[in-house]
Symmetry: C2
Subunit: 114 residues, 2 copies
């Protein structure tokens, strides 16, 4: 029998939900598209839902993770801040380490019944 | 700012969902009460839902995790098998190690923006 282990992690800041996999994917989609509405479409999510998630990330963290500019020659857009990039990178590193750790732990297990 | 990390793990056996936290809690409630219906009530879950979850655990694992006996002087009941006890113990040990690992990883992080 082939056993496999999966995990999900999430990070809270002062007891408020900051980042889970859904929020990380949305932030990365914003980084890729430069637009909250395009990011929402790419995630098959309503604009309202995407806006609420980003608002929650911005309010929970030490600093906003996303900045929206209006006007200018490109008509504005939404971009990640340094803090936004930092917390995504931290989340992804820990998530990857966690998955490797769990794989190693599972390998150590000797299932008596199999 | 105080950052905190949480996790959930689940174990698959030959690509089938075997154990997640909900299934583990249900199995432990069966172990405590000796009854699937009492376990379902204690988890505020319908009997049908509890039966389906246990049926899925029994069919996914190498051996059944739960055994039901009928009749006898105690009127039968539902108990965990050795395999059932083994996989719960494995799940809980790995889950606890995972949480400790994540706490340690988070401590190592130096948030530049905080």
């Amino acid at each position: 029998m082939n056993y496999e282990i999966n995990s999900r992690i999430w990070i809270k800041a002062d007891d408020n939900m900051l980042l889970g996999i859904g929020r990380v994917e949305l932030l990365k989609a914003i980084d890729k598209t430069g637009s909250l509405s395009k990011a929402a479409v790419s995630m098959k999510m309503s604009y309202k839902k995407a806006w609420e998630l980003i608002d929650s990330v911005n309010k929970s963290g030490a600093l906003p993770a996303v900045r929206t500019s209006t006007g200018g020659k490109d008509g504005g857009g939404t971009v990640l801040t340094e803090y936004g990039k930092e917390i995504i990178s931290i989340y992804e590193k820990i998530d990857q380490k966690c998955k490797l750790f769990l794989e190693e732990e599972l390998k150590k297990i000797d299932f008596k019944c199999h």
